[in-house]
Symmetry: C2
Subunit: 240 residues, 2 copies
DNA sequence: CGAGATCCCACCCCTACAGGTGTGGCGGGG
DNA sequence: CCCCGCCACACCTGTAGGGGTGGGATCTCG
């Protein structure tokens, strides 16, 4: 009943407006597939056109959603390449790393949206639509975000969790990200820099992850990562 | 001309005697294939029946040749399992590790041949035939081996080198073995114990290998190993 | 023949990096 | 309240790795 009401409401609100076409970008198939599943219930508003793993956008889309799981943050040039693509449309960053410095770097580079992974799926869809309409949207999950704007924060519908490799094996998102970066060959210090964590935090995550993985050395962790999909994928899946 | 003379000689000597059937055992396909190629010119004397990677012998053979590249030595129980197989026939060890302690352990366990990898292909074939005839053969490459026996040490024919993963990339056999053990997740100390080298030798090999591989950390070395076939294989190839 | 290269093997000194043990704070949810 | 996830810290030990050295055996070439 509530479900059908939601559909009706959405349809009424978006009457005569085409769905936003979105490309999903991240190096791990599990991640982009998790995003796809998250957005699926909102198909009339947001249409996933393709999933890009380690590949540039392959067709013109309205928005490219860049998930930063185990990826360079916006202070590195990966985002520049997406921004430079004539097909990527508006570029939106979807991330745990909501530090102000990263936000401002992103905006300076021309990123049109900087969204925290704490958003619900509906909030994410709202934001994508707003970006498509020409707004610059920053939602870091901070209650002070967008002061004086849109206070109807009723409980949102839809899951808040995407997916990530290692999840089935019990790793939290952050643990998995750290393990993925290990599996990419990075040292602890490099991981700290890449993920905007302190070296101590990295070590803590490693410790916790190793316990769950049942390994006691980095070498074994890399092998575990290779076997459990923690190595980056490469490819493109055209949905539309 | 010399070639045809050799053939004629071999045929005359082995008249009326079937070829020795041999299973080749090692965890790396490249290694057992290298052995297969090494023995191929001697097909009328030694017939390779199957290649076993991480698998028990699958059919009755006269001799099983166990190559110790990146494998447990005879002081571990891997050899016990081969010896216990009703199909393995006589078990021969082919190795760089010719320490007296290992030789005596092997013989105590019932190994019928302990052969150094410095032997030529022809010497290897000779040894396999002798084992098949019921002899216990130890050839460590020491000039004092088998005193007073068979002094016609004319230059042997056939290559002395088998094959190993990483060879194409410029790694020596020992370097490759150490890298393979790293890629199996072993620590330096564990590698030293497994390969009967000092910890210092292990480090030296690692240093030299890393230079050739273009890596500077164990993590990257493992990834290199995974990409270049240094992870153990699994399977059986029936030739006969 | 001697020199040089290569491989196997070993060693030393030192620094860098990884990892174990333990601690604590904050926010959210049950 | 407890639990979990995210985040951070301190202290300490263990492991890894860089630079350098040298010996023995074998092979190739001048």
């Amino acid at each position: 009943m509530t479900q059908s009401q939601t559909e009706t409401t959405s349809t009424a609100r978006d009457e005569g407006r085409a769905a936003v076409t979105v490309a999903l970008a991240n190096d791990y198939e599990v991640v982009v597939q998790g995003l796809e599943r998250m957005l699926a219930p909102y198909g009339v508003r947001v249409e996933v056109a393709e999933l890009d793993m380690n590949m540039p956008v392959g067709q013109p889309v309205d928005v490219t959603l860049y998930d930063t799981f185990s990826q360079p943050q916006v202070d590195r040039d990966a985002i520049d390449r997406i921004l430079a693509s004539p097909w990527a449309g508006k570029v939106v960053v979807y991330t745990w790393n909501v530090q102000a410095a990263l936000v401002s770097t992103a905006l300076e580079k021309g990123v049109a949206g900087y969204l925290s992974k704490t958003l619900s799926a509906e909030e994410l869809v709202d934001a994508l639509e707003r970006v498509h309409r020409g707004e610059v949207v920053v939602l870091t999950g901070d209650p002070d975000d967008e002061p004086g704007e849109d206070d109807d924060h009723e409980p949102s519908e839809g899951p808040t969790a995407g997916d990530w490799p290692g999840r089935e094996q019990g790793l939290t998102a952050r643990e998995a990200e750290v393990v993925a970066l290990i599996t990419q060959g990075l040292s602890n210090q490099e991981i700290a820099e890449r993920s905007y964590l302190s070296i101590n935090s990295v070590k803590s995550y490693i410790k916790a992850a190793y316990r769950k993985m049942g390994v006691d050395s980095r070498t074994k962790a890399v092998l575990w990562g290779v076997e459990h999909g923690l190595t980056p994928d490469r490819g493109r899946r055209i949905v539309r």
